[in-house]
Amino acid sequence: MLTDLLGIPPQVLFGQLMLGLINGAFYAVLSLGLAVIFGLLNIVNFAHGAFYMLGAFATVAVTQYLGIGYWGALIVAPLVVGAFGAAIEYFLLRRLTGVDHLYGLLLTFGLALVIEGSFVKMFGASGLPYPVPAQLTGGVNLGFMFLPWYRGWVVVASLAVCIATWFLFERTKIGAYLRAGTENPKLLQAFGVNVPLLTTLAYGYGVALAAFAGVLVAPITQVSPLMGSNLIIVVFAVVVIGGMGSIMGAVVTGLAMGVIEGLTRVFWPEASATVIFMVMAIVLVLRPAGLFGKTA
């Protein structure tokens, strides 16, 4: 057994670090989705937490009614929720072109209220349980902590999706269009690219990322209508810290904030709920544009 570090038992320290990394993985996927949406639409998607919740509920529904279980839900839930998101972009958000971007934030805030409120009415606030898939029950004793297999899988799956997204944006033709659309949509349109379609797809993809995080979290916490509503504010802070600039920035900041939160739980437990906001305040003083932001 390792000896205590700074008076902290190693199982507490490494255990909380591990949990921090797992939370960080969720922050990373969620802030990545926000960054993708912000890039093309220039709006902050307040409904992101609601879509994350929809992903988790879709997992329960898919398992119950389609019988394809967790692994099927991992594919189907993001597709379904992503399509729903694309429809919202097409029918609602598009109408706000040319209006102050703040209205986009307000519209998605209203949508979040509608979606979450309806689910509270239908399922109650305490929510539904969802079991860990049979293949991933149990865990491994790492010596300093007991790591449930499922928690390990969450980190691996999130990182895989983040890297795939990075590849899509930085190394493919669609990605090149998307980046160009961020810089100068009019010019891109002039080159014959269907920018409105691209926008719809980008929003759908960002929403699908949120839903994917929702699938991952379903076996960990109670699947409940308000599960995304407080989380999303933390993710906003993560986004402010990282700056909306880059894909990698969103991912790295997300993971780092999870780890910092885990460390805080060990060394200063009272502040664990607020530490990310404190970091945000400090970053704003030192680097108003965010750690990876381009412009001030």
Partner: protein, 401 residues
């Protein structure tokens, strides 16, 4: 006094002249306001079922008491003290509600106590559990019916210490109820010669208990006491299983577990769990008959909170029937005078501090093999006499006792 109120008073004065039978019923109607959690963490153990239970008590009177019709209003307080207080105040001011019933979660009960005190109305507390409700926080018209944290501590806490679980770590819901429960169990554990190693406070409600479970694991305590309730308890037990806490030899003690929680967890996970209950449907013929009626209306067997709500409302109505009045002080005196006898309690006594003293039961969750089917979940290990569970009146710090 506003015009509407004056108007309604004069109308009811006319009604009084018209019907001599209800001369003593202030506005010609006995109105009971059920304030409970309809959609949140506690909706399963109370919620709609508590309204049904209240209605069952009213139905036993055929819908009228002392010649006046009985009405019921209900609202969802969402476990928020401010919503509960505002609703109670409004009910009292504008709808002439005579008594507030159920009031799950301590913060809600405390908030409604403030209103009940100002308006001199009866508060029939069933779901809130903190023992201070009839001690430091008591009010003259606040009655605590079903259980309290002291009774839970005496039941479950001492049973576990006697089995050798003598070092404890708590996972405590961070509000009045969690603190009260932790405090009462700590007293019992220490009195029995055990020690408390520490506690982690978790937000209410919490969904992910992993970081708290890790702290409990690191404490090395033999027993991890869950000073929470409802979905929080369920989630904590699940996380403890996931992180191998039970497999490594630590014992998880749910200090406030309800029948509906056992139902949600399933017998595989819950078997062997010890719990203190105020009521179980399968105690005797009377409980079985009443519970069967409840089951037919709701599709679930009643929890102690729901049965206790029924009992408190029934006793309240019986006192009105006996005195022919709905005057708070008159009714209260009669309620204290009569023993409480119904499907919920046998020879229960309502003390002057507001505590309704009745027997409690230590139960153990059956294994799947022992159970004959859905809802056959508990075997009663021991009957805890009311005096032992709630302690003597002298323990209460209630100034008006």
């Amino acid at each position: 006094m506003n015009i509407l109120k004056k108007l309604s008073l004069s109308v009811s004065a006319l009604a009084m002249v018209a019907s001599a039978a209800s001369a003593e019923i202030s506005d010609g109607v006995v109105k009971i306001g059920v304030l409970t959690d309809m959609s949140g963490t506690y909706s399963d153990l109370s919620g709609e079922g508590a309204v049904v239970a209240t209605q069952m008590a009213i139905d036993e009177f055929g819908g009228t008491v002392a010649g006046a019709p009985i009405e019921i209003v209900s609202a969802d307080h969402q476990n928020k003290a401010d919503i509960a207080a505002n609703k109670a105040r409004e009910w009292g001011d504008t709808q002439q509600v005579d008594a507030f019933a159920e009031l799950v979660t301590t913060s809600v009960a405390l908030a409604v106590f403030e209103v009940a005190k100002q308006q001199n109305k009866i508060a029939l507390v069933s779901g809130a559990a903190s023992s201070p409700l009839t001690s430091d926080a008591c009010i003259p018209t606040g009655l605590h019916w079903t259980y309290n944290t002291r009774a839970l501590a005496v039941g479950t806490g001492s049973a576990i210490v006697k089995e050798g679980g003598d070092s404890w770590y708590f996972l405590t819901a961070d509000y009045a109820f969690g603190e009260a429960l932790q405090g009462d169990v700590t007293k019992v554990v220490e009195a029995e010669g055990g020690t408390v190693l520490g506690a982690a406070k978790h937000p209410f409600p919490a969904s992910d208990f992993s970081s708290f479970v890790l702290q409990a694991q690191a404490s090395g305590a033999k027993v991890v006491g869950l000073a929470n309730a409802g979905a929080d308890t369920i989630n904590a037990i699940k996380a403890a299983n996931e992180f191998g806490l039970v497999a490594a030899g630590q014992k998880v003690a749910g200090l406030l577990v309800f029948l509906t929680d056992v139902h949600a967890l399933g017998l595989d996970t819950a078997q062997g769990l010890q719990m203190t209950v105020s009521f179980y449907w399968d105690l005797n013929d009377e409980t079985r008959a009443w519970s069967q009626k409840f089951f037919e209306k709701t599709g679930k067997m009643p929890t102690g909170v729901q049965a206790g709500t029924y009992s408190s409302v029934l006793h309240y109505l019986r006192a009105i029937e006996a005195t022919g009045s709905d005057d708070t002080d008159t009714v209260l005196a009669k309620m204290r005078e009569m023993p409480v006898n119904d499907a919920f309690a046998t020879n229960g006594v309502l003390r002057t501090d507001g505590r309704m003293v009745h027997d409690m039961f230590l139960a153990e969750v059956k294994s799947p093999a022992e159970s004959s089917g859905p809802w056959d979940y508990l075997k009663i290990v021991r009957t805890i006499p009311g005096e032992e569970a709630y302690g003597p009146l002298s323990e209460s710090n209630c100034p008006t006792k």
